[in-house]
Amino acid sequence: MSSENRLHFSASCSSAAVTSFKDGQSYLESAEYSYVHQNLLSFVDEFGLPHLASALKLTWFRAYSSDIGRWLSRDRLEEHGDSIDNLYTYVLLDPLNKIDPLGHAYQCQDANCSTGGTYGKTAMYCVSGRNICRDCAVKRLGVEDESGAEQEKTLRLFLRR
Protein backbone atom coordinates (compact mmCIF):
# COMPACT_ATOMS: atom_id res chain seq x y z
CA MET A 1 0.00 0.00 0.00
CA SER A 2 1.34 3.42 -0.87
CA SER A 3 0.26 6.73 0.62
CA GLU A 4 2.00 10.10 0.66
CA ASN A 5 4.77 8.51 -1.41
CA ARG A 6 5.64 6.15 1.44
CA LEU A 7 5.44 2.44 1.22
CA HIS A 8 3.44 0.60 3.85
CA PHE A 9 2.87 -3.10 4.09
CA SER A 10 0.46 -5.16 6.04
CA ALA A 11 1.03 -7.86 8.59
CA SER A 12 -1.43 -10.72 8.85
CA CYS A 13 -2.32 -13.22 11.50
CA SER A 14 -2.80 -16.92 10.89
CA SER A 15 -6.32 -16.37 9.64
CA ALA A 16 -4.90 -14.02 6.96
CA ALA A 17 -6.71 -11.04 8.40
CA VAL A 18 -4.70 -7.83 8.42
CA THR A 19 -3.64 -6.90 11.93
CA SER A 20 -1.34 -3.95 11.37
CA PHE A 21 0.34 -1.69 8.82
CA LYS A 22 4.06 -1.06 9.00
CA ASP A 23 6.02 1.84 7.58
CA GLY A 24 8.22 0.56 4.75
CA GLN A 25 11.21 2.67 5.81
CA SER A 26 11.22 2.59 9.57
CA TYR A 27 9.35 -0.72 10.03
CA LEU A 28 7.39 1.00 12.80
CA GLU A 29 3.71 0.28 13.05
CA SER A 30 1.65 3.03 11.44
CA ALA A 31 -1.67 1.41 12.27
CA GLU A 32 -2.69 -1.57 14.31
CA TYR A 33 -5.93 -3.46 14.20
CA SER A 34 -6.74 -5.86 16.96
CA TYR A 35 -9.57 -8.26 17.59
CA VAL A 36 -12.68 -7.59 19.54
CA HIS A 37 -14.06 -11.06 19.20
CA GLN A 38 -12.12 -14.16 18.36
CA ASN A 39 -10.66 -13.85 14.87
CA LEU A 40 -13.05 -11.09 13.92
CA LEU A 41 -11.94 -7.61 12.90
CA SER A 42 -14.38 -4.99 14.00
CA PHE A 43 -14.76 -3.10 10.74
CA VAL A 44 -17.21 -0.30 11.13
CA ASP A 45 -18.99 2.05 8.79
CA GLU A 46 -17.95 5.44 7.53
CA PHE A 47 -19.34 7.10 10.63
CA GLY A 48 -16.47 5.56 12.59
CA LEU A 49 -17.77 3.73 15.60
CA PRO A 50 -14.84 3.27 17.98
CA HIS A 51 -12.72 0.18 17.76
CA LEU A 52 -12.85 -1.29 21.26
CA ALA A 53 -9.36 -2.70 21.48
CA SER A 54 -7.05 -0.28 19.69
CA ALA A 55 -9.04 3.01 19.87
CA LEU A 56 -8.71 3.25 16.11
CA LYS A 57 -11.79 4.12 14.13
CA LEU A 58 -11.79 2.09 10.97
CA THR A 59 -13.57 3.29 7.89
CA TRP A 60 -13.57 1.58 4.54
CA PHE A 61 -10.52 3.38 3.26
CA ARG A 62 -8.50 4.56 6.23
CA ALA A 63 -8.16 4.54 9.98
CA TYR A 64 -8.59 7.41 12.41
CA SER A 65 -6.77 7.56 15.72
CA SER A 66 -8.78 9.33 18.36
CA ASP A 67 -5.70 9.29 20.62
CA ILE A 68 -3.74 11.62 18.37
CA GLY A 69 -6.74 13.17 16.64
CA ARG A 70 -5.42 12.31 13.20
CA TRP A 71 -6.19 10.10 10.25
CA LEU A 72 -3.31 7.68 9.79
CA SER A 73 -3.26 8.13 6.04
CA ARG A 74 -4.41 10.67 3.52
CA ASP A 75 -7.88 10.53 2.00
CA ARG A 76 -7.38 8.42 -1.10
CA LEU A 77 -9.52 10.84 -3.14
CA GLU A 78 -7.17 13.58 -1.94
CA GLU A 79 -8.43 16.87 -0.64
CA HIS A 80 -9.78 19.18 -3.28
CA GLY A 81 -10.81 22.78 -2.87
CA ASP A 82 -11.14 25.67 -5.25
CA SER A 83 -8.41 27.45 -7.16
CA ILE A 84 -7.00 28.79 -3.88
CA ASP A 85 -7.16 25.36 -2.23
CA ASN A 86 -9.90 26.20 0.20
CA LEU A 87 -11.02 22.82 1.52
CA TYR A 88 -14.42 23.96 2.75
CA THR A 89 -16.06 25.03 -0.49
CA TYR A 90 -18.21 21.90 -0.35
CA VAL A 91 -20.02 23.46 2.63
CA LEU A 92 -19.89 27.04 1.33
CA LEU A 93 -17.02 27.88 3.67
CA ASP A 94 -19.24 27.22 6.68
CA PRO A 95 -18.17 23.84 8.08
CA LEU A 96 -19.54 24.60 11.56
CA ASN A 97 -23.12 25.00 10.40
CA LYS A 98 -23.37 23.08 7.13
CA ILE A 99 -22.67 19.46 6.31
CA ASP A 100 -22.60 17.39 3.17
CA PRO A 101 -23.76 14.01 4.47
CA LEU A 102 -24.43 12.56 1.05
CA GLY A 103 -21.42 13.91 -0.78
CA HIS A 104 -24.05 15.60 -2.84
CA ALA A 105 -21.93 16.76 -5.71
CA TYR A 106 -22.36 15.53 -9.22
CA GLN A 107 -20.10 15.01 -12.15
CA CYS A 108 -19.13 18.34 -13.70
CA GLN A 109 -20.87 18.70 -17.06
CA ASP A 110 -18.53 21.32 -18.44
CA ALA A 111 -16.68 19.69 -21.32
CA ASN A 112 -13.70 21.95 -20.64
CA CYS A 113 -13.48 21.06 -16.93
CA SER A 114 -9.80 20.75 -16.15
CA THR A 115 -10.35 18.38 -13.25
CA GLY A 116 -12.53 16.04 -15.29
CA GLY A 117 -15.31 16.04 -12.75
CA THR A 118 -15.35 16.45 -9.02
CA TYR A 119 -17.78 13.89 -7.71
CA GLY A 120 -18.30 14.48 -4.01
CA LYS A 121 -15.55 17.04 -3.73
CA THR A 122 -17.13 20.46 -4.27
CA ALA A 123 -20.59 21.94 -4.22
CA MET A 124 -22.22 21.98 -7.65
CA TYR A 125 -23.72 24.90 -9.48
CA CYS A 126 -26.40 25.05 -12.12
CA VAL A 127 -25.31 27.25 -15.03
CA SER A 128 -27.10 27.21 -18.40
CA GLY A 129 -28.99 24.13 -17.26
CA ARG A 130 -25.82 22.14 -16.56
CA ASN A 131 -24.35 21.00 -13.26
CA ILE A 132 -20.82 22.25 -13.06
CA CYS A 133 -18.13 22.42 -10.38
CA ARG A 134 -17.06 25.59 -8.58
CA ASP A 135 -14.01 26.39 -10.67
CA CYS A 136 -15.99 26.01 -13.89
CA ALA A 137 -18.84 28.15 -12.50
CA VAL A 138 -16.41 30.93 -11.62
CA LYS A 139 -15.00 30.81 -15.14
CA ARG A 140 -18.32 30.56 -16.97
CA LEU A 141 -19.95 33.37 -15.00
CA GLY A 142 -16.91 35.57 -15.52
CA VAL A 143 -16.29 36.31 -11.85
CA GLU A 144 -12.61 35.28 -11.76
CA ASP A 145 -11.55 38.83 -10.94
CA GLU A 146 -13.92 39.24 -8.01
CA SER A 147 -12.69 38.72 -4.45
CA GLY A 148 -13.24 35.31 -2.84
CA ALA A 149 -16.10 36.64 -0.70
CA GLU A 150 -17.82 38.22 -3.70
CA GLN A 151 -17.43 35.02 -5.67
CA GLU A 152 -19.13 33.10 -2.87
CA LYS A 153 -22.02 35.57 -2.75
CA THR A 154 -22.57 35.30 -6.49
CA LEU A 155 -22.16 31.54 -6.59
CA ARG A 156 -24.75 31.01 -3.83
CA LEU A 157 -27.31 32.23 -6.34
CA PHE A 158 -26.30 29.46 -8.75
CA LEU A 159 -25.88 26.69 -6.18
CA ARG A 160 -27.97 23.58 -6.79
CA ARG A 161 -30.70 23.31 -4.20
Partner: protein, 131 residues
Protein backbone atom coordinates in the same frame (compact mmCIF):
# COMPACT_ATOMS: atom_id res chain seq x y z
CA UNK B 1 -29.48 41.82 18.72
CA UNK B 2 -31.19 38.72 20.00
CA UNK B 3 -34.62 38.25 18.48
CA UNK B 4 -37.23 37.16 20.98
CA UNK B 5 -39.47 34.23 20.00
CA UNK B 6 -42.52 36.48 20.16
CA UNK B 7 -40.97 39.02 17.77
CA UNK B 8 -40.00 36.22 15.43
CA UNK B 9 -43.54 34.86 15.36
CA UNK B 10 -44.87 38.30 14.54
CA UNK B 11 -42.35 38.77 11.73
CA UNK B 12 -43.12 35.26 10.44
CA UNK B 13 -46.82 36.05 10.45
CA UNK B 14 -46.19 39.33 8.63
CA UNK B 15 -44.12 37.49 6.03
CA UNK B 16 -46.82 34.87 5.52
CA UNK B 17 -49.36 37.64 4.94
CA UNK B 18 -47.06 39.31 2.40
CA UNK B 19 -46.49 36.01 0.60
CA UNK B 20 -50.20 35.87 -0.11
CA UNK B 21 -49.94 39.25 -1.86
CA UNK B 22 -47.36 38.07 -4.41
CA UNK B 23 -48.40 38.50 -8.02
CA UNK B 24 -46.94 37.68 -11.42
CA UNK B 25 -43.60 39.47 -12.12
CA UNK B 26 -42.89 40.02 -8.43
CA UNK B 27 -39.41 38.97 -7.35
CA UNK B 28 -38.82 37.34 -3.98
CA UNK B 29 -36.04 35.61 -2.08
CA UNK B 30 -36.02 32.04 -0.82
CA UNK B 31 -33.35 29.87 0.73
CA UNK B 32 -32.88 26.14 0.55
CA UNK B 33 -31.66 23.88 3.32
CA UNK B 34 -28.28 23.42 1.66
CA UNK B 35 -27.63 27.18 1.71
CA UNK B 36 -28.56 27.95 -1.89
CA UNK B 37 -30.04 31.40 -2.39
CA UNK B 38 -33.03 31.52 -4.73
CA UNK B 39 -34.04 34.76 -6.43
CA UNK B 40 -37.36 33.87 -7.96
CA UNK B 41 -39.79 35.63 -10.24
CA UNK B 42 -43.47 34.80 -9.92
CA UNK B 43 -44.91 33.39 -13.16
CA UNK B 44 -48.30 32.30 -11.85
CA UNK B 45 -50.44 32.21 -8.74
CA UNK B 46 -53.51 30.28 -7.77
CA UNK B 47 -55.37 29.92 -4.49
CA UNK B 48 -52.84 27.45 -3.07
CA UNK B 49 -49.57 27.72 -4.96
CA UNK B 50 -47.07 30.25 -6.21
CA UNK B 51 -45.43 29.20 -9.45
CA UNK B 52 -42.02 30.78 -9.78
CA UNK B 53 -38.83 30.57 -11.79
CA UNK B 54 -35.41 30.82 -10.20
CA UNK B 55 -33.82 33.57 -12.28
CA UNK B 56 -30.20 32.48 -12.11
CA UNK B 57 -30.72 28.81 -12.89
CA UNK B 58 -34.07 28.98 -14.72
CA UNK B 59 -35.47 26.16 -12.56
CA UNK B 60 -39.20 26.11 -11.98
CA UNK B 61 -40.23 26.12 -8.31
CA UNK B 62 -43.67 25.73 -6.77
CA UNK B 63 -44.17 27.32 -3.36
CA UNK B 64 -47.05 26.79 -0.99
CA UNK B 65 -48.94 30.06 -0.60
CA UNK B 66 -49.76 29.40 3.05
CA UNK B 67 -46.37 28.29 4.31
CA UNK B 68 -43.89 29.63 1.76
CA UNK B 69 -42.38 26.17 1.43
CA UNK B 70 -41.26 24.67 -1.86
CA UNK B 71 -41.33 20.93 -2.21
CA UNK B 72 -38.08 19.24 -3.06
CA UNK B 73 -37.76 16.98 -6.07
CA UNK B 74 -35.58 13.89 -5.59
CA UNK B 75 -32.00 15.01 -5.04
CA UNK B 76 -33.04 18.56 -4.15
CA UNK B 77 -33.44 20.20 -0.77
CA UNK B 78 -36.52 22.05 0.48
CA UNK B 79 -36.66 25.80 0.10
CA UNK B 80 -38.62 28.46 1.96
CA UNK B 81 -39.47 32.04 1.13
CA UNK B 82 -37.41 34.38 3.30
CA UNK B 83 -38.29 37.80 1.98
CA UNK B 84 -40.67 39.48 -0.44
CA UNK B 85 -39.21 42.96 0.05
CA UNK B 86 -39.34 44.86 -3.24
CA UNK B 87 -35.96 45.46 -4.86
CA UNK B 88 -34.93 48.96 -5.96
CA UNK B 89 -36.28 49.52 -9.45
CA UNK B 90 -32.92 49.51 -11.27
CA UNK B 91 -31.93 46.22 -9.62
CA UNK B 92 -35.36 44.79 -10.43
CA UNK B 93 -34.94 45.76 -14.07
CA UNK B 94 -31.48 44.21 -14.23
CA UNK B 95 -32.87 40.97 -12.82
CA UNK B 96 -35.75 40.97 -15.31
CA UNK B 97 -33.13 41.45 -18.03
CA UNK B 98 -31.04 38.58 -16.69
CA UNK B 99 -34.10 36.34 -16.59
CA UNK B 100 -34.97 37.22 -20.16
CA UNK B 101 -31.39 36.69 -21.35
CA UNK B 102 -31.09 33.28 -19.67
CA UNK B 103 -34.55 32.23 -20.88
CA UNK B 104 -34.44 33.41 -24.47
CA UNK B 105 -30.73 33.73 -25.15
CA UNK B 106 -28.13 31.10 -26.01
CA UNK B 107 -28.07 27.99 -23.88
CA UNK B 108 -24.37 27.23 -24.07
CA UNK B 109 -22.11 27.69 -21.07
CA UNK B 110 -20.37 30.48 -22.96
CA UNK B 111 -23.58 32.50 -22.88
CA UNK B 112 -23.80 32.45 -19.07
CA UNK B 113 -21.17 35.15 -18.51
CA UNK B 114 -22.50 37.96 -16.32
CA UNK B 115 -22.25 41.60 -17.33
CA UNK B 116 -20.82 44.14 -14.90
CA UNK B 117 -24.32 45.42 -14.17
CA UNK B 118 -25.58 41.91 -13.46
CA UNK B 119 -22.63 41.17 -11.16
CA UNK B 120 -23.31 44.37 -9.22
CA UNK B 121 -27.02 43.56 -9.01
CA UNK B 122 -26.36 40.03 -7.70
CA UNK B 123 -23.97 41.34 -5.05
CA UNK B 124 -26.48 44.00 -4.07
CA UNK B 125 -29.22 41.38 -3.79
CA UNK B 126 -27.12 39.22 -1.48
CA UNK B 127 -26.60 42.19 0.80
CA UNK B 128 -30.21 43.39 0.48
CA UNK B 129 -31.77 40.08 1.47
CA UNK B 130 -29.28 39.26 4.21
CA UNK B 131 -30.40 42.31 6.20
Amino acid sequence: MVEKDGDKNISDRALMEKIKLLEVFDIFHAESQNGASLICIVVGVDSRKIYARRITTQENCIFDRETGLADAAPGESEAIIKSVSPLPIEIYQTMIGLDRRYRLGGKSLGDAKLTDNEKKALLFIDEFYSN
